[in-house]
């Protein structure tokens, strides 16, 4: 099994210093090659499509804007200076001693974002954030805090990418999210890292009574390695957690991705759905549901396809601590069923088109709250990735 504690990362390879990037007031002035990369991970430079924007390059906050009353977006250092109470929210649920990754993030921090929707504020458009590595060999260790106050609603689209032609890099994202009573957070993360980039997010979300967390994760493009296993505590009655992930691993890419949801209060609901395709890469798709009280419901679905070759490992886990929990899982790993291909061929599709139709359907997980232009771009990205798979 791969080292999930960061023991496989040689931190000496990476720099923790990077030159500062200039602040960009007008997003229209972003270099076209960078803007193109932003778009690929769902970050639009058209301000009117978003309620707010946060962009960090290496360790510099290069753009930060909010377009709605009651919505705060800023770099974590600025936020710590403005809100003394915020210090208590950092490293609250994630310990720096947790593993080598968190220890490194604590030792060499490099900004991160603070996003807060104040009580009762329904943020109309998605908020976007982009974490971008421009410097070769840089270790981008961000610490993010998101707070959705009581009754507030917000969708964050966060895109992570690197400058074209970057050869090495490390991204560590320590994220602590708080969804207060009756709040709703949709968090969509789209990754387009380079082929040699190692990525190690560490995330914990606390969801209070009646709160909802919907987390979508999409990684279609080649990367070096990714290992993450975010934890969500459904701590209040009726809290809901839903995780969807779409993973594609090409040759040389290693993805170890999962989610752990702890159902700690009555009437909580959790769902983890993962769709993974490997065509030469390694994928471990994990899911861990823990039912601690009676009256909870949880379901886990891990489906993996191996096209040509590659490794696919599904590890679904269910743990019930008391009677009266209702938990189920469904896991399947294999190749495309020949019967499905031939069924479509009998309707007139040639074999290649039949296979790509099935693959597109397989990856077509309903992702809640995705703005239509982003959905269209995602479909396009899937279609382009498919060309490489065939």
């Amino acid at each position: 099994m791969r080292d999930v504690n960061g023991g496989d990362i040689d931190f000496r390879q990476y720099r923790t210093e990077a030159e500062a990037h200039e602040y960009i007031e007008d997003l229209g002035r972003v270099a076209p090659s960078d803007a193109e990369k932003f778009l690929q991970v769902g970050v639009s430079t058209q301000a009117n499509e978003r309620a707010g924007t946060f962009i960090q390059m290496d360790r510099s906050v290069v753009h930060c804007r909010t377009g709605q009353e009651g919505l705060e977006i800023m770099g974590i250092n600025q936020a710590l200076a403005r809100h003394p109470w915020l210090a208590g929210y950092l490293w609250r649920h994630i310990s720096p001693d947790g593993d080598a990754i968190t220890a490194h993030a604590k030792a060499a921090p490099a900004e991160g974002y603070f996003i807060r929707a104040r009580a009762g504020v329904k943020v109309a458009h998605p908020v976007q954030s982009c974490l971008y590595i421009a410097r070769d060999g840089f270790a981008q260790n961000v610490h993010n805090v998101v707070i959705v106050e009581e009754g507030a609603e917000m969708h964050i689209i966060t895109g992570c990418a690197t400058a074209p032609h970057l050869t090495t890099g490390l991204h560590i994202g320590v994220s602590e999210f708080y969804v207060r009573k009756g709040g709703r957070l949709t968090f969509t993360m789209i990754h387009d890292w380079g082929e040699k980039i190692n990525v190690r997010p560490r995330s914990v979300t606390m969801v209070e009574e009646g709160g909802v967390l919907v987390s979508n994760y999409i990684s279609l493009r080649p990367l070096g390695s990714l290992q993450m296993f975010p934890t969500t505590h459904l701590a209040g009655r009726g809290a809901v957690g839903r995780f969807n992930s779409i993973l594609v691993a090409s040759r040389g890419s290693r993805l170890d991705v999962g989610a752990r949801i702890l159902l700690e209060a009555p009437d909580t609901r959790a769902e983890i759905i993962s769709r993974a395709i490997t065509y030469g890469g390694d994928i471990i798709a994990r899911g861990d549901l823990v039912g601690r009280v009676a009256g909870i419901k949880a379901h886990l679905e891990c489906k993996g396809l191996i096209l040509n070759d590659g490794l696919m490992r599904a590890i679904p886990e269910l743990t019930g601590h008391v009677p009266g929990v209702e938990m189920s899982h469904e896991a399947a790993v294999g190749r495309i069923d020949r019967r499905e291909i031939e069924y479509l061929m009998a309707r007139g599709l040639d074999e290649e088109t039949a296979v790509s139709t099935i693959v597109r359907g397989f990856l077509n997980v309903e992702i809640e709250g995705l703005p239509p232009p982003l959905r269209a771009r995602l479909d396009q990205a899937i279609a382009e990735t498919q060309k490489d798979m065939m």
């Binding site: 489906k303 069923d337 069924y343 061929m345 009998a346 309707r347 597109r360």
Partner: protein, 252 residues
Amino acid sequence: MLTIEELTVEIGGKPILKNINMEIPPGETHILFGPNGSGKSTLMMTLMGFSGYDVTHGRILFKGEDITGLPIHERARMGMGVAFQRPPTINGLKTGQLVKVCAGQRPVAVEELARQINCTQFLERDVNHHLSGGEIKRSELLQLLAQDPDLVLLDEPESGVDLENIVLLGDTINRLLHRGVKFPAGKTHREMLQARPKSALVITHTGHILDYITADRGQVLYNGHLCCSRNAREILKWIGEYGYEECFRCAM
């Protein structure tokens, strides 16, 4: 339309169909009777070109062309269409999308077609996902209506369908074969018959479908041999009276 000559088929090295000869002229509907395991579905899958059905002898001619070695999609594009008994589920692909696929380049009013055969409720559902027996039949026929094939292969169209729905099913099949009286679209009977002739091979175990569709001929497949070819209703009467044992005695 379809000519089968001395067709011998094996599955995994085991002979299933033995020296089958059959002719379905343009515009004719033939019924293929046979007990379970006689090779009916194997014949259908072989005609469509599915993998695992190895033709070791003989050939299949469609519209005068030898299609024995053609891939499935080319047969479909030439005008062969099949309604499956147990089609696979395709996750993430909506039934409505597949209906458009079936129509190929032709425009198709998916909603309208679906409304006519009571299918609108699952257009937005994944193909064959959690459909009842009757819904699967309707979904298959909806796809065939969009595909508009010249030779229709139907595998046990009446199985798993309740009495209420079987009438609609029969009407839909008749419409597909240009033999219906419910969808004449202002045309006379003669004009309808003069339109592009449609042929069909309908597999049935029980023969119940004959109460709802008209057939020109019946054939009996028994233990991989085509052992009888005559009026379909007459065959059904004999099977009704004596079971398939009579076919066995005949074939001896």
